[in-house]
C-alpha cells in the first residue's frame, strides 16, 4: 500500500514517518515535496511534525497554502485516510480540514515527554485496530498543542464520536494532572465527521520500535494498513 509523507520546508519528523512505514511496517512510501501538485497513487497521506515555515505567524498557518495542499484536501474529501501528526495536526486545523485550533501550551513551555493516551474510538482508519479505551504510551514534543474550539463545536465533537485520543494517567483516568498542555477535555487527537481525517499532537511514528522506547504508535499504522487492505 502506497504511503505519502508530505514535506514542507521545516518539517522534521518526515524521516521518522518514512522509517516507521518503510522499515517497520514494510510498506512503500515516498516523500512528496510541498511544491508538487499530485499525490500520485498514494492511498494514505501523512502530514508530519516539525516547524513548517518556521511556525511563522501561527503554527501551520502558511503550510496550508502550499501547492500540494489542494491535492491533500481532495484526498480528504474523497474519504481517504489522512493523518496529521503534531505540526501536521496544526496544519489540518488551520486549513479547516479539522475543527478548532491549537494554542500555546498553558504552561508556555515546550513539553517533550512520554504521555498516556486513551483511544476513544475505533471508527477511524488509524484506530480501527485499537480497542476503544485501550491505553497507549506515546511521546509528545510541542509548544502549541493546547486544543481549543468553541463550546458548540466541542459538544459536537463529543456527540459525534470525533475525539480520538485523550491524555490520561497510566491507569486511564482523564485528569487535569494528566493534561500536558491545557487542551479542552484532555483532547490529544480528533477526527473529522467522516472519520478519515485524523490529527493528533503525540507522535505515533516515534513509538514504532521497542529500541526507541515503545511500539504503541505502530498500532495506528497497522490499523490503516489493515483497513485499506480489506477495502
Amino acid at each position: 500500500m502506497q504511503f505519502a509523507v508530505i514535506v514542507f520546508p521545516g518539517s522534521n519528523c518526515d524521516h521518522d514517518c518514512y522509517h516507521a512505514i518503510k522499515d517497520v511496517l514494510k510498506q512503500p512510501v515516498r516523500f512528496v515535496w510541498h511544491k508538487e501538485t499530485s499525490l500520485g497513487d498514494a492511498e494514505v497521506v501523512i502530514l508530519p511534525g516539525g516547524f513548517s515555515y518556521g511556525d511563522y505567524l501561527r503554527a501551520g498557518a502558511i503550510s496550508r497554502f502550499s501547492p500540494i495542499m489542494k491535492a491533500v484536501s481532495e484526498h480528504a474529501r474523497e474519504g481517504r485516510p489522512l493523518l496529521g501528526i503534531c505540526n501536521g495536526f496544526q496544519c489540518l486545523t488551520e486549513s479547516g480540514l479539522l475543527p478548532g485550533a491549537l494554542r500555546r501550551n498553558e504552561s508556555l513551555r515546550f513539553v517533550c515527554e512520554e504521555v498516556w493516551l486513551k483511544c476513544e474510538t475505533s471508527r477511524t482508519p488509524f484506530t480501527c485496530g485499537i480497542e476503544p479505551d485501550e491505553i497507549l504510551k506515546m511521546t509528545i514534543a510541542h509548544g502549541e498543542g493546547n486544543y481549543f474550539c468553541e463550546p458548540g463545536t466541542l459538544a459536537e465533537l463529543e456527540d459525534n464520536n470525533q475525539i480520538v485520543f485523550r491524555y490520561t494517567d497510566a491507569d486511564g483516568s482523564v485528569s487535569p494532572e494528566a493534561n500536558p498542555n491545557g487542551s479542552m477535555n484532555n483532547i490529544a487527537g480528533i477526527c473529522n465527521l467522516a472519520g478519515n481525517v485524523v490529527g493528533l499532537m503525540p507522535h505515533p511514528e516515534r513509538s514504532c520500535d521497542s529500541l526507541l522506547g515503545g511500539e504503541d504508535g505502530l498500532q495506528m499504522f497497522m490499523s490503516v494498513l489493515r483497513m485499506v487492505a480489506s477495502s
Partner: protein, 87 residues
C-alpha cells in the same frame, strides 16, 4: 502609499497564557494596578494605492493574518500624515 496596521489578539474568553505571564511579571516588578494583559500581534502592510483595499484587508485577516477560531483582528489605515486612523 497607504499603510494598513493590523492588530491580532486572542478573542475574549480565550485564555492568553502569555498575557497572564506578563501580568505576573509586571506585578512582581511592583506594578500592582494591572488587572489583565493581552499579548497580540501587530502587522504592518504597505499597499498599492489601487483596488478595493478594505475588502482585501478583511479577506487577508480572515484567510491568513488571524485565525478566526481563536483570534480577533482590528484594521487601521495610516499614511504619513496620520498615525493610525480607524477604518
Amino acid at each position: 502609499m497607504p499603510k494598513a496596521l493590523v492588530y491580532v489578539t486572542f478573542k475574549e474568553g480565550v485564555l492568553d497564557p502569555q498575557g497572564e505571564a506578563v501580568r505576573g511579571a509586571l506585578s512582581s516588578l511592583g506594578f500592582k494596578g494591572v488587572n489583565e494583559v493581552r499579548v497580540g500581534k501587530f502587522i504592518e502592510l504597505e499597499l498599492d494605492d489601487t483596488g478595493n483595499v478594505h475588502a482585501d484587508l478583511e479577506r487577508m485577516c480572515q484567510d491568513l493574518l488571524a485565525n478566526p477560531v481563536i483570534e480577533d483582528y482590528r484594521i487601521e489605515m495610516a499614511d504619513e500624515s496620520t498615525n493610525g486612523e480607524a477604518l
